[in-house]
Subunit: 395 residues, 2 copies
């Protein structure tokens, strides 16, 4: 039995039209001046920003807007947001978007509650002493940031993408209306499904896991996304499938799926972060391109878990194979088939990258450096291991 | 798709020796003067109260103690606690015990934050406007009160047992050390396992359930308790099984297992509350004695759910039966076998009660009255339905 802390205080309001509650909820959590932070113009054109602002007006809350967040959210916009928030006396940040918008909002909220540059927290120079309250109107099911303690920002000047984890930034509330995800292109939907599953897979593949109940929840969540991603491929308007994926996205990353697991791996995330920082690929697609190679490289370190995954998530039939290794490999192949069914890549070429061995070596060098030397518990990976996985993914 | 709110803000600290964190955690949540509330002398004799008080001392927190909580916690002790807390200026209630102690603590905490008698909230005379912060050191896995919004108190003068639900009383933190449950007699352990499963079953049996992910979590939780209860019957010292049951107890009742289910039933609970209020039977045993009769009475109203339960939780083999009804009945019979394996009753006689039809009619009359006329969504039960279920359980 491993000790654990579980803390997921975010209030979730899930359902059609739930965004109309934004103003009332922000007010309950003490907002008086709200920064409404969002991404592209689609949130404006769809009328969502207007609806959210109307809800804030109704609650009597002053608000300013700041759009323009891009995937792999950039430090320069965070700086602009902090400046605006400080000038306007903003005391609450309302993120209207997906993981990038939420993480950008969290970073701005750190900037409101702490002096200086919030990037210091991402690179470990200082620790935050607090965070302005953040609320979320979720429009993309993927990152799980709406209930998580993480905040990943890209410094586009140095090409460094780094996360800062602290309970301070966990959103006060998350409004989840699956209808808001209906307009997402299939590619984004598929990337989101990969990311959601990876958040739980990063927690699942550990030699230290001890709790049946955590495994039951993790495997049930993974089966749910597996099945509903395929439903959405054939019918993107299936609102029930949208709902399954959206709620799975939050539970995959709020800590529930690693209770008692004795830590989590997150090496695939670290390997992917280097790709999206350098080549601006979409995070979910990058994860799909890396994971099979990671899995084959580390498999021996927690073979039992790979077998359990193959049987309980991928649905591998044990009668068809003779050894545990074969079952584990069949599970990894099953995931590759699943990724292909979602039109996701399973290697760097399919991701659209054409990299030299020098490129790979540079990614491995940076990955190891940004991880403080090593990462992972399925198998502890050092720079040479990271390079080998990049090479396998590039073969 | 149904709308839902999910809000489970309690911080969980799970693991061996976790009770040493009580003082630090209480301090973080603003405590200065703590009421340490507990049940029988065993918590004192075991040294647990001393360890908890030492932790409070270390954090520099003033504390007073009040023991004496009994199962089906009594209003008279709540009144004593409120009086003591008001006299001593208590601003934090630390429950050291199981569901009865936690609910008694919540009621006292309501009494600290509101004028007048907190019983008013249980009988719906008034609504609370707040609640003093409550922390928990859990010693019995059963009620799930450590993360829940419910507070069930028995007025022993009127024999009325009623619950009050409000987010105000959700504990700030719950310390869960499975070792603390090792000394529980088998009967209490078994009652706890029944109660835990019932908290999720009350949410599961609804004709309105829509989400695969919620079903996956609920069924995984139920399988976990099913299997680990049998492990504990044979080896009560199995600390890993204790851990599974303890964590399942919290997740079964924190709202996770009914997200999107369009409400919950809780008629079995209402039927049982009349038994424990009148005859002081143990809640878990009373639930086991009622559930099979309730299940057979309401089964037609949500047959699909009973079939799914039989297949996915009880492990009924569909090849052995011809109709959905047969599979559903086999699931109920499987639960009766499970209850018997735990030495739990499956009817009122096995519960130790010898009741006349007049007794049953009085229980049904009170149950309907305390439910405001009706209860349940698997099938809406009125007084005559309640009487029929009591009669089936008494046959």
């Amino acid at each position: 039995m491993n000790s654990f802390t579980y803390y997921a205080p975010t209030r979730v309001e899930f359902g059609l039209g739930a965004e109309s509650k934004a103003g009332q909820l922000a007010k309950e959590y003490g907002a008086t001046k709200v920064l409404v932070h969002f991404g592209g113009e689609s949130a404006v054109r769809s009328g969502l920003i207007d609806r959210v602002c109307a809800s804030l007006d109704e609650a009597g809350l002053f608000h300013v807007e700041l759009g323009g967040v891009v995937p792999n959210p950039r430090l320069s916009l965070v700086h602009k947001g902090v400046e605006l928030a400080r000038a306007e006396g903003v005391d609450f940040v309302l993120a209207v978007g997906g993981g990038s918008v939420i993480d950008s909002s969290k970073s701005i909220a750190y900037g409101i509650a702490n002096e200086g540059d919030p990037w210091d927290f991402n690179i470990g120079l200082r620790k935050p002493t607090g965070c302005a309250p953040v609320g979320v109107v979720l429009t993309i099911a993927a990152a799980g940031s709406e209930m998580s303690s993480s905040c990943v920002i890209t410094n586009e000047e140095t090409n460094v993408k780094k996360g800062c984890n602290s309970d301070f930034c966990r959103p006060k509330f998350a409004i989840m209306n699956p209808e808001l995800t209906l307009s997402l292109p299939w590619y984004q939907t598929a990337c989101g499904c990969v990311d959601i599953m990876m958040h739980t897979m990063e927690r699942y593949f550990t030699p230290n896991a001890t709790m049946q109940i955590t495994d039951e929840i993790a495997e049930g969540l993974l089966r749910t996304v597996f099945e509903n991603a395929l439903i959405l491929r054939d019918n993107p308007d299936d609102i029930d499938a949208r709902a399954e994926v959206m709620w799975a996205g939050s539970l995959a990353h709020n800590g529930l799926t690693d209770c008692g697991n004795g830590g989590s791996d997150f090496a695939s995330h670290a390997l992917e972060h280097e790709l999206s920082a350098a080549y601006d690929v979409t995070h979910g697609a990058g994860l799909a391109a890396i994971w099979p190679s990671w899995a084959r490289y580390v498999m021996d370190g927690c073979l039992d878990r790979f077998v359990q995954f193959a049987l309980n998530v991928v649905g591998v039939d044990p009668e068809e194979y003779e050894t545990a290794e074969e079952i584990a490999h069949a599970g990894i192949e099953g995931m590759e088939e699943f990724y292909h069914a979602l039109e996701m890549p399973t290697n760097l070429h399919e991701l659209g990258l054409d990299l030299s061995d020098d490129d790979l070596a540079e990614r491995a060098r940076r990955c190891a450096a940004n991880c403080g030397g090593s990462r992972g518990i399925a198998k502890v990976l050092y720079e040479e291991d990271m390079l080998e996985i990049y090479r396998m993914a590039n073969a």
